[in-house]
């Protein structure tokens, strides 16, 4: 495993596209959270500042970061597509790597990038949380911190989908296009042909629902009533104001299942096809 990490590190350390994408990911996320923190949208009982306070920040920042997971998936597609266009997957097998090691190498890279991204979200959440939280209570601090782990899984799931598409099409440009189309058009359109209840089980839907949009209305209504539980999200969903979602645990299990499926399918392709 150490050898595979070293190999992947040698490959990406000098790769300017990788460095630019990682930097872009970091800077864009920072700018978005910084700029929105300066937008003081205040209505009676609610301010955008609430989103930056503990524990809401643990929900809000992973949701913002989830949009940038697409950038991470594109990065994995570029790195995997390169292996095909430079014939380096082929050469590495010739030199003595097994096909499972090719898969493990990229899998390890995906996990490392997901760790980086989660740490980034954690770091910014801590910084902004401490700046914006006026009344600090320790129990509130870690109330929703588990969402970081859910975000971690989401980052892995997006990158696993990107990896599978790249292995399937062996072409960087085509894979990026199809990934974006699948994420934003193909799956959403397919979902429309299915009954409402089934739509929640589609891969992109499951993965994106891991870090749903923070329930602004709940936060707002809670503040209005001086009680966070005054209007629960269930009744808001019943009213059609909040989108329908599966219970978080079901979503996590399904997302993990889809991730394993993407990796397994990529493995089958690597194993059976000529390099």
């Amino acid at each position: 495993m150490k050898k595979l990490i070293e190999i992947e590190f040698i490959k990406i350390a000098s790769y300017s596209v990788f460095r630019v994408l990682i930097l872009l990911h970091f800077i864009l996320f920072f700018l978005v959270v910084l700029v929105t923190s300066q937008l003081d949208i205040t209505v009676p009982g609610f301010s955008t500042y609430n989103l930056y306070q503990f524990p809401n920040v643990w929900e809000f920042f992973p949701w913002v970061a989830s949009w940038f997971n697409i950038l991470l998936a594109i990065m994995i597609i570029v790195l995997t597509g390169n292996e095909y266009s430079y014939h380096t997957f082929r050469q590495q097998v010739i030199n003595g790597l097994s096909r499972i090691q090719l898969l493990s190498g990229k899998g390890t890279l995906i996990v490392i990038i997901a760790i980086y991204s989660t740490l980034m979200v954690f770091l910014f959440s801590i910084i902004f949380g401490f700046i914006f939280t006026r009344e600090y209570v320790f129990s509130v601090f870690y109330e929703k911190i588990y969402i970081l782990l859910v975000y971690f899984l989401q980052a892995i799931a997006y990158m696993a989908l990107g990896f599978f598409i790249a292995v399937l099409f062996k072409n960087t440009g085509l894979s990026i296009t199809l990934f974006i189309l699948f994420r934003f058009i193909i799956e959403p359109v397919i979902r429309l042909f299915f009954p409402k209840n089934f739509r929640l089980y589609f891969p992109v839907k499951v993965i994106s629902n891991l870090t749903p949009m923070p329930e602004f209305l709940t936060i707002f209504a809670g503040k209005m009533n001086g009680d966070n539980q005054a209007i629960d999200t269930y009744s808001l969903r019943e009213m059609g104001i909040m989108p329908e979602e599966l219970p978080i645990l079901v979503n996590i299990i399904l997302a993990a299942g889809y991730t394993i499926l993407f990796v397994f399918l990529a493995w089958l392709l690597l194993k059976r096809r000529n390099l």
């Binding site: 430079y86 014939h87 030199n95 003595g96």
Partner: protein, 295 residues
């Protein structure tokens, strides 16, 4: 002698096109085995199959008398088709990737770069190299870790005459270390000068194989002449020594049957009272034999 590679009835098709058909051959330790064939004859497919990047439809092969595995492939330095490296990495970093895969220490990198004549370009990016230099880097990566076996597919591709001579010398040097080398090439001169054994591929089938010297000797014509050329021709035909006799001006071009040599002709002519005024073994180039075989 230790068997390094044994292939049994390898078969690979791409759709309706058969790339290799029932390919069986054995390569022993220390052999420099040339795989010779025109374009599209299946040379690269053969090498891609034995290096595990292409799955054969049928047949089996063994490296070092064992089923192929990543561990065994680390003992083999292979260059298949074109050099495959990361264009944005330096030569040193590209070789580091290979060194990690092969479990070779980094200190071997300067050695192989030196052999390939690329020491001065250690920190250049791969995409800044000329075609010939890329080929040299591929040779360097093949030599990394001093492997027991080298598999080289058209190693002189893109090289200038000086480069070709240098690569040829590298191969000869490695062969002298009793390494086993498998060399696919369409440059007959290269195979003739470098290889101890040769297999000739045509339409995916091995149509001839053996020692280069034997293949050459068995088909070399002998040029003979005597004062009475008509009588000489009659006697040689009657002797049963020859496969064919052709008149060439005042000479006869005789293709001897396997196992006979020029001294047999001389002795036979003498026994019939004919004094040969010319007796010369003319070595046909491998090229002419190759063209004849694949015709």
């Amino acid at each position: 002698m230790k068997v390094i590679l044994q292939t049994n009835n390898l078969h690979k098709s791409y759709g309706r096109v058969t790339a290799i058909k029932n390919l069986s051959f054995t390569i022993h330790e220390g052999n420099v085995f040339g795989i010779l064939g025109p374009n599209g004859s299946g040379k690269t497919t053969t090498l891609a199959v034995i290096t595990d990047v292409i799955r054969p439809d049928k047949g089996i092969f063994f490296w070092f008398e064992q089923t192929s595995s990543p561990v065994l492939r680390k003992k083999i330095g292979s260059l298949i088709e074109i050099p495959n490296f990361y264009p944005y990495l330096t030569l040193k970093r590209n070789l580091k990737v290979v060194a990690r895969i092969k479990d070779v220490p980094d200190k071997d990198i300067p050695r192989v770069l030196d052999i390939a004549g690329l020491s001065a370009r250690t920190n250049s990016h791969y995409d800044t190299l000329s075609l010939g230099m890329k080929q040299r880097l591929a040779i360097a990566s093949v030599l990394l870790g001093n492997p027991e076996v080298l598999v080289l597919d058209e190693p002189a591709n893109g090289l200038d005459p000086e480069g070709i001579a240098e690569v040829r010398q590298i191969i000869i040097n490695e062969a002298e270390k009793n390494k086993t080398i498998i060399l696919a090439s369409h440059i007959l001169d290269e195979v003739e000068k470098v290889c101890s054994h040769v297999g000739i591929l045509k339409n995916g089938e091995m149509i001839a194989q053996g020692k280069v010297n034997e293949l050459l000797l068995s088909k070399d014509p002998v040029i003979v002449s005597a004062e009475n050329i008509d009588l000489l021709e009659e006697e040689i035909i009657r002797s049963g020594l020859s496969e064919s006799v052709t008149r060439e001006n005042n000479n006869l071009m005789v293709i001897l049957k396997k196992g006979y040599s020029t001294s047999d002709i001389n002795a036979y002519a003498f026994s019939k009272g004919l004094i040969l005024t010319k007796l010369e073994q003319r070595k046909r180039s491998l090229e002419s034999q190759f063209l004849e075989l694949v015709k």
